[in-house]
Structures are given as structure tokens and as C-alpha cells.
């Protein structure tokens, strides 16, 4: 039985475990029908031209984890941003771990999707926001919607800001030979409120894991949201991340994606600007080796006038890795005075690495400033030589240049400890130890 059939047939079993009378269940039923109709995307579809899911579909994924697993904090401490205090929402094999988590209801709600789906007090929020910005016909999103049950639920009321950042962590223990995880996150940040989130997926053994995650973020008037995705998983883990963001007037949302690991990573990042003077930023650093594959698929839909968007993706590709960047900017007719900028710079450091880049502009308004730039190149030979003449070995020199290359993206990270952590990850990834802090 192929994965699609398996998923469709297991929906019945899934229905036994959830409240089928909840209005959300109608959304699930519709979603599974849509998924059944469409199936997994193939390379024939323009959006999946450079990324194939064929090999993943051949794996016999277990869809519902059988047992609860516990982890000791000291074993997984290194995956947390332990230098500072954070709220934590932790899942082990898709199941919430109250032991490792730290949630709150003190003025803000930082808790679980499963709680939000079952408790009546959250119903008004779910009615307004659940599945309202996520795509209803993109097949992987509908697949997630159909099985949506668990994930993070964050609600920040007007004029509030949680005291510390929120970490969302997904661990997989490898107790199952192969596991499919489908977390579903809903984040609502009300007027003038603020939120910082760090999301990470981590496999602890070499067993196959595929995560198909959907996150919906709603930023109301003047809200500020910073979202950091740290993707440094081991090479048996694949991730399909679907993030949908709806922004109202004057809101500022920044998404940083750091892709250093995983077998196959696909980031579908979609911004919808539903208000004026909106600022959307998406930045990414990708450093790959081995046979890794990362596909960044971004969309910024400018639907209202006077908005801005900034995109900056840097990629360094070594060994047999493949990188894809597909950035699309759509400017509606009414979205005059839009200022949209997109940049994608890539360095290939191996003969067997591949980069496919497709920056796209679709513009229907005339009074706009839109531009994109894309480069593929190498490290500057002269700069390398200069550093070598100053006694810096070639390896370190090239690492230094690559740091500099990625630095623009790191500059806007607003949590210093996270920035340090990312710096370390980059150094590890490049295999060098620099004798100084950057």
C-alpha cells in the first residue's frame, strides 16, 4: 500500500481518537477529501520541479506513535537554548511532554493545540483563526490539516508581550522504525503585542522521520513577531515546513530560517499582507554537505498599499548537496507604493553540488519598487590570498569569508544567545575552530 492510501485509510482510525462534533472536524474532513483528490505533489508540478518526494513515499511510515516516550533533560539539554530562560513546548514522537515543557496561562496562552481543540474557552479563537490562512488545496497542507490534533498554541492578547521567548521542540526517539509527524501550530498575536519563537526538530537516532508541519501565524495591527527556525537535524530526518502568515496594518513579522541539516528540507513560507504599512522579512542561511537537499519556497503576496517586504537568502553548498530557492513576489493591483526586495546569493564549493534558483516577480501595480537579485559564485580569490598573506590558513580564511557572507542574515537575529548558538553551528558545519568570537 502506498503512503497516500495508507494515510487516507488511517483517517478513519484517527476519527476515533478526536471529537468529531467539533467544528474543526469539518475542516479536517474537507481537507482529507482534498488530499485524496490531489495526492502527493510530483516533479511535474511547477512548485515541485526541483524536489522529489518519491523516495520518501516508499518508506512505510508509522502514522500514530504507539507509546509515550520520556527523555531525560540532561540528554537533550544541548538542543535547548539553555543559556536563557524560555517557555518550552516539547513533543516527543509527536506527543506532548509535560515533564520537559514549561507553558503558561499568565496573561498570555502558551500551551497545546490539543488543549485548545478540546476546551470550550478556546473555541472563539479557533473559530476565527484555525485554517484561515493555511492553503486549502496545497496537498501537504491539507494532509496536515486532516490530521491536525497536536502542536503549539500561542495566543498573545492586546498590548502583551511574554517575558521570555518560546521554544517549540520536536524530538523523535527512533522507537519506531520510521515515523511521520504532523504538528500543527497556531499563533495569534493581537494588536500591539509581541512574540519571539524558536522552532527546532531533532531526531535522536538514525531511524527515518518525516515531519510535515503547518504553522499559522496571525499578526494583528502593530504586532511584532520574530520566528526562528533552526534546522540542524541528522541525515535521516526530513522536514516539510509549511508556514502561513497573515499580517494586519503596521505589523512586523520576521522569519529566519537556518538550514544546516536534514536529508530533505522543504520550507514553504507564505506571507499575506492584509493591511497597510506592513513589514515582512524573511531571511535564511543554508549550509549543506553530503547528499542533503534544501528547498526554500517563499511567497510574499502584497495585497494592500504601502507595504514592504525584504528577503535575503544565502546558501553555501558542498559535497553532493542540492539547494533550491524559489521566491515569488506577487503585487496586487491595489498594492501601490509597494517596496519589495529579494536577494539570493549562493556559493558552490563542490563540483557535485547543485543550485537551482528561481526568483519570481508578478506585478500588477505600477507605482512600485520591486527588485530581485540572484548570484551564484565562488569565494573571492584575492580576498582569500590576502588573508593567507596575513598568516590565516586557507581553510580558516575561507570559513571566515563564508561567515562574512552569511553575516547579513545573522545581524537581524534579536536574541543574542541564539545568535551565538547559530555562529557555533556555522563554525561546526564549516569544520573550523576560529580563535575568536564573531
Amino acid at each position: 500500500m502506498d503512503l497516500k492510501d495508507k494515510l487516507v485509510s488511517s483517517f478513519l482510525a484517527f476519527e476515533n481518537s478526536v471529537d468529531v462534533h467539533h467544528p474543526v472536524h469539518d475542516i479536517r474532513s474537507e481537507a482529507i477529501r482534498n488530499f485524496e483528490l490531489k495526492g502527493f505533489p510530483t516533479k511535474k508540478e511547477e512548485a515541485w520541479k526541483y524536489t522529489s518526494l518519491n523516495s520518501l513515499q516508499k518508506i512505510d511510515f508509522s502514522i500514530f506513535p504507539k507509546e509515550e516516550n520520556e527523555l531525560e533533560y540532561r540528554d537533550v539539554k544541548k538542543y535547548f537554548l539553555h543559556e536563557i530562560d524560555t517557555y518550552k513546548i516539547v513533543f516527543i514522537d509527536g506527543i506532548y511532554s509535560s515533564y520537559l515543557s514549561e507553558t503558561t496561562h499568565d496573561g498570555v496562552d502558551i500551551c497545546l493545540m490539543s488543549a485548545a481543540l478540546t476546551k470550550p474557552m478556546y473555541k472563539p479563537v479557533l473559530d476565527v483563526y484555525f485554517n484561515k490562512v493555511a492553503s486549502r488545496d496545497e496537498s501537504l497542507t491539507t494532509l496536515n490539516t486532516a490530521f491536525s490534533r497536536e502542536g503549539a498554541y500561542i495566543y498573545i492578547p492586546k498590548h502583551k508581550a511574554p517575558k521570555k521567548p518560546v521554544e517549540i521542540l520536536h524530538f523523535s526517539t527512533g522507537n519506531e522504525a520510521s515515523l511521520l509527524l504532523q504538528p500543527r501550530n497556531l499563533i495569534v498575536v493581537e494588536e500591539n503585542a509581541e512574540l519571539q519563537v524558536i522552532e527546532r526538530h531533532q531526531s535522536l537516532t538514525a531511524n527515518e522521520v518525516l515531519t510535515n508541519s503547518v504553522t499559522e501565524i496571525f499578526a494583528a495591527e502593530s504586532a511584532i513577531v520574530d520566528y526562528y527556525k533552526v534546522q540542524n537535524n541528522i541525515e535521516s530526518a526530513s522536514l516539510i515546513d509549511n508556514t502561513y502568515i497573515s499580517q494586519k496594518d503596521k505589523s512586523v513579522v520576521k522569519v529566519h530560517t537556518f538550514s544546516f541539516g536534514g536529508k530533505l528540507t522543504r520550507n514553504n513560507l507564505n506571507f499575506y499582507q492584509n493591511g497597510e504599512h506592513v513589514d515582512s522579512t524573511m531571511k535564511g542561511v543554508t549550509i549543506l554537505g553530503a547528499k542533503q537537499h534544501v528547498d526554500h519556497h517563499t511567497l510574499v503576496h502584497h495585497r494592500q498599499p504601502n507595504c514592504e517586504s525584504h528577503q535575503d537568502y544565502k546558501g553555501i553548498y558542498g559535497e553532493n548537496s542540492t539547494g533550491v530557492f524559489n521566491g515569488k513576489i506577487v503585487v496586487d493591483k491595489i498594492a501601490q507604493k509597494t517596496d519589495a526586495f529579494q536577494q539570493n546569493n549562493n556559493i558552490l564549493i563542490s563540483d557535485k553540488a547543485t543550485i537551482n534558483s528561481k526568483p519570481q516577480l508578478e506585478i500588477f501595480a505600477d507605482d512600485v519598487k520591486c527588485s530581485h537579485g540572484c548570484t551564484i559564485g565562488q569565494l573571492d580569490e584575492e580576498a582569500l590570498f590576502y588573508l593567507q598573506t596575513r598568516g590565516i590558513p586557507k581553510r580558516e580564511a575561507s570559513a571566515l569569508l563564508m561567515y562574512a557572507f552569511a553575516n547579513n542574515v545573522l545581524e537581524s537575529v534579536r536574541i543574542p544567545e541564539l545568535k551565538k548558538r547559530i555562529n557555533k553551528l556555522i563554525a561546526n558545519k564549516l569544520g573550523v575552530r576560529l580563535g575568536f568570537e564573531l
Partner: protein, 481 residues
Amino acid sequence: MAYTEEELKKELETKEYEYGFYTDIESDTFPKGLSEEIVIAISKKKEEPEWMTQWRLESFRYWKEMVEPEWANIKYKKPDFQDISYYSAPNKKPKYNSLDEVDPELLETFKKLGISLDEQKKLAGVAVDIVMDSVSVTTTFKKTLAEKGIIFCSISEAIKEHPELVKKYIGSVVPQKDNFYAALNSAVFSDGSFCYIPKGVRCPMELSTYFRINQAGTGQFERTLVIADKGSYVSYLEGCTAPSRDENQLHAAVVELIALDDAEIKYSTVQNWFPGDKEGKGGVYNFVTKRGICEKNAKISWTQVETGSAITWKYPSCILKGDNSIGEFYSIAVTNNHQQADTGTKMVHLGKNTRSTIISKGISAGKSQNSYRGLVQVNSRAENARNFSQCDSLLMGNECGAHTFPYIEAKNKTAQIEHEATTSKIGEDQIFYCNQRGIDTEKAIALIVNGFSREVLNKLPMEFAVEAQKLLEISLEGSVG
């Protein structure tokens, strides 16, 4: 005197297609529809050898298996391929030896287009191979060219007289089953131009062909084959205008360029087919496959000015097969009213040290949609490949759209690829500045557009540059700024 924006807009909208007229020449037209019989009949009509007939039939069989591509960013009513007549030739054959023998009505047509033959002959030193609805009517300057060993004739003539060349190269760059329209063209192409430049010869004049679509309801399926042998040089010009017509006309041409070692081909196009009226009715469907292959140290340069056609679907491409070969693409695409253009280029880097440059300028006005679609591909063996692409779009009015779809695929670490794209409108301050200096708005826009497209206009041969500038003005002057 100063126009108001409203007046300008109105004037632009009501500006009718200047070259819209229809010459009544009795044509020898085939019944509508396409089948193996029609393909055989076309081949027979053209007195082609057996291998050509078979080649056409093979293409037709491929075509039957294929479906129309839908990926382009254009919307249109698909043509009914069984409702098109696949052959039409001006009736009054055989070939003319002098201009006096040419149908006066035909001459009148050319006069209106401003390409009167005798004038062309004397003034420009341009050999003109005029294709009027598929059959080559007259070829000039053949003698001068023949002295150099250059073959410049219609493709049907070439099939008869130089079969070894045609057989060797036709379909070698654009295979029969390359795409839907190329397969269709391969099956039913009516005529076109053939050009061969021998080794080490520098073609002394610009070769040019004027295409005309004439007979109502007939598709135009041109086939052009240009071969530049080792170390030769040729500059080839192609320009088009077509009469106003109500129904959509299909045009599916194939152009193949072959630049052997150290050769250089410069291919320039000015396309001004009927774009449809201001309601978007009528107009030519232009689905063209153009591709060139470069051997060692060879260079192919495409320059195009696209102002016409209701639908344009066109990607002049270069396959940089040989080491050190160079591909260039310079394009201006102007769309107005309801025109739609999806155009761009492909640069495929296969050889070492290959270089390519892409400069694309899109100008959209009225309710038109203008897309740039390009591919830069660097193969794993293409060491030190270098590409620079720039696509700029200019929007006039708030009902048009400009789109860019650049695909960049690199498989070699020594590749250096740069791509940049911008979209903007004509700044009010720019126009104000011109106004202030006594330049009225209309002229100011012409000036700014001219500056915007200068990089490309500069690449055109002299004869064309003038015409192209005129076309830009006709298509755009007075657009809202």
C-alpha cells in the same frame, strides 16, 4: 503644447494599427484541417524529395502525440488546429526575374510598409528575401552573395538544390519533437529562409527577410535555417508586419542557427504583427521556437524588438556547446492594450569558459501582461561559465502586469552567475524635470523609454535601429506616466 494625461491615454487607445491593410491577391489555399494527406500534399506541392516528405510525416506523428503547452503566463482561446489552412501561396508564379514582373498589388503592399524593393536595393545594400504568405517571391542580391559562395535562398529551394546541407542540419538544433509548436512546424512548414556562409567568409551585407501574414485564416509556418561555417560571420535581419484581421492568426515558426567553430551569427528581429484592436480582438498568435548552437569559440547574438502580436511565446536560446563560446540575448518587449507576451531566453552552458549575457527590457502599458521567462543552466562540465542577466520592467498605467520567471540552475562550482531584475514606473519627477525644460509629457515619455531601452537598441544594426525606435514610439508614446 501640453497634453493632459487623459488625452494622451485616449489618443494612445485610439491609435489604430498603422500598418493594418489587406492586399487582395488570389491565393492558392489548401482546405482547412490537418492530416497525413495534407502533410503529403504540402510536400508534393513544394516538389520535395522523398526524405523530406518522410521527415514531415515523422514530425506530424510526434505532433499528434503531444499536447499544447500550458505553462506560459498567457491566457488565450486555443486555436483549433483543424480550422486552419496549412498552405497558402501567392498565386502568380513562377518566380520573377525583375521587379516589373511582380504583381503590382504586391509591390503596393510593400510600398505601404516602407520596404519598396527598388529603394531597398539601391539604398541599404540589403539583400531582401521577401516571404509573402509562405512562398518566397523574390530574392535580390543573390549574385553578389553567390560570388562569395554564400547561399541565401528560400528553404524550399535549398531542399532541392542543397539537400546535403539541409539534411544534415535541419532539426539538429530544434528536434522535431522538441515542443508542440516545433513539431507542428516541422510537419507543415510552408517556406522560410536558408542561409549558408562558407568557411572564413564574412558576409558583406546584412541579410534580411520580411515576413508578411496575408491570406485570411491561414497559419504561417516559417522555417529558417542559418549555417555559419568555420570562421564566418553573418548578420541576419528579420522584420514583420501584418494586416489587421478579426480572427486570430496562428504563427508557429522555427529558427535554427548553427555557428560552427569560430563563427559568429547576429540575428536581429523586429516584430510588429497585428496586436489586436484596443478591445483585444484579433491579433496574431506568435508561438516561435528559436534556438542556436555554438561550437568552439563561436558566438550567437539574438536581438529582438517585440511590439506586436496578441500573444507572444518566444524564447530565442543558445546552446553553448563548444569551449569559449558566447551567447547573447538583447530584448525589448512592449505590450499595450490587451497584448500578452511571455518571452525570454535559455542559455545552456555545456562547454568550458562559456559566457552569456541577457539584457531584457519589458515595457507594459494598457491592460497588457508582459513576462520574462529565462533559463540559465550551467552543466557540471562547464568550467568557468559566466552569466550576467538583467531584466528590467517598466509599468505604465495601473492595469498592466509585469512578471519575471528566471530559472537558474548551476551544477559547477566555478560558475559565476548574476541575475538582477527591477520593476518600476516612470518617475513623476523625471517627467516633471523634462516638462520644466520645455519637453512635453509625450516627448518626455518617449525620451525616457528610449533611454530605458537604449542598451538593446544599440545592439541593432543601423537599418533596424531606426525602425525599432519608430515602433517603440508608435506603441507607446503618450502612455500614461
